[in-house]
Symmetry: D2
Subunit: 165 residues, 4 copies
Amino acid sequence: MKKKAQIIGVMGGGSASPEAARKAQRLGELIADQGWILLNGGRSAGIMEASAKGARSRGGLTIGILPDDHAGHTSEFIDIPILTGMGSARNAINVLSSRVVVACPGGAGTVSEVALALKTMRPVILLDFDVGELFAGAEKNGLLFRESTPEGVVERIKALLAREP
Amino acid sequence: MKKKAQIIGVMGGGSASPEAARKAQRLGELIADQGWILLNGGRSAGIMEASAKGARSRGGLTIGILPDDHAGHTSEFIDIPILTGMGSARNAINVLSSRVVVACPGGAGTVSEVALALKTMRPVILLDFDVGELFAGAEKNGLLFRESTPEGVVERIKALLAREP
Amino acid sequence: MKKKAQIIGVMGGGSASPEAARKAQRLGELIADQGWILLNGGRSAGIMEASAKGARSRGGLTIGILPDDHAGHTSEFIDIPILTGMGSARNAINVLSSRVVVACPGGAGTVSEVALALKTMRPVILLDFDVGELFAGAEKNGLLFRESTPEGVVERIKALLAREP
Amino acid sequence: MKKKAQIIGVMGGGSASPEAARKAQRLGELIADQGWILLNGGRSAGIMEASAKGARSRGGLTIGILPDDHAGHTSEFIDIPILTGMGSARNAINVLSSRVVVACPGGAGTVSEVALALKTMRPVILLDFDVGELFAGAEKNGLLFRESTPEGVVERIKALLAREP
């Protein structure tokens, strides 16, 4: 594992369709292949479980920022569980700690993370997650992007990392 | 002021158009007239300032959940400033502490509050704040509503308070 | 109730001896008599319950900053329950939001609040709560005080409010 | 680096005497030698900087739970900076996320971490940090320990990890 690696946040629902889970797992693999660290919500469910599983399978490092104050719901594929005991308030930490945020399909919690990320000027890449025209301004300003494949997401992250200091 | 009054959250942008500010101020007045407590983000700007000003003008009680760890940005119309020192993580407190959440026009921060409110099953009323089809499920399930006047919002709140325990 | 009233934080254990509870209740009465707002941890137990009961009995306003994300443990004597859903992380909010912090007998949670208050330069008055020599520097610098009666605490608060802007 | 390694929290002041810094650095080295992950407050100062420097020098992994919402104060020896933007409220996360907490000399912030750790039943080892008789109960119950050398701390951690599941 490389030290001082970039941290890529992967957000998404606690439940996930088979296709969404498959793409999240693949995204986790690709993130690990790049030597990036994967950060997510840490639970053993949905996009969190799938993306951590993918990253772990390639030897990547996985960080989970958990809403819980105990380890009971933590994914087995999380190397570093950060227990916040703060419920959804931890969503703010998820995005602050990520260099780039990828939003996979999810519900209101995932929308809150997209919104908080944009508010703190973290670039957001939507992977098959439709937020309509809600953040059209951010799209225009090159802060919000849409992709439909894990490979496309990774290319987009590379471009973002190259663009900014 | 009535004790054990209902707490109504009013969210919205730190900057506001004249019309949005006018409606927020009117909403504050009507909330105070009902004997409800107004809760918002507490800052001396935009929807926060306008709604607190309205409530205060009618003798209502106003609570501000500030992102700051100091009082420098607090609206003069806030009776009870709660300094969280937590930035946007305090958005989760805003909605948890509100019986009903009203979302006036705002940016990404306001979207995050709508999303967090729905996630924790707080009813949300959009006052001229268009979130597209993003939360269509919540609209169908009677958790998200759209209104175009402060008076309409208050009637909606009354119905919600009557409906639930 | 006076608007823009000073907020006085009263901290202490979730369980309390009869004497400690009696003094906390009396302190709540005196705080209300001064027109100050009482802020505490909000739960229906120990020092929290006793101090809120005292303040309420004199028509004072009571604010509870709860660790919970639901209302189930809230004292009936709390007028304004702020649900943080953050567990002990909310201790930081308790002290940031208080003009002066009074620490009644308690356990590790109360010690954490004394420490956090001093760290953020909030004056702390210990009411029968012995912290040994741990904060001797703060005592020398006029930030930490010891009292043995609710009346003494109130006189100390008055002096502190007069001293500072 | 070993996956699923134990996370050891090292707390202490933002300023440190030469001797305290030397011991914290040595403690960091020993923690890394054991294959444990070091977690601290993440800033480039005092005990935080020294302990991270020690762990890094032996190839250990270092996590910093920062109070800040930006990277400006982060130690160069931190591999994984978690930006909370929550000020001292993040102290609760520090201790929740640690399997064992070591408290080096510090001020009120460090005392708050000792207190929060004990409240959540995390074992605490004091390395030259005198808290008087404040937590005498925890000492009796085998939750709080005193050591005067980094080597003694590591032996104590080993015993604690062996004792508990």
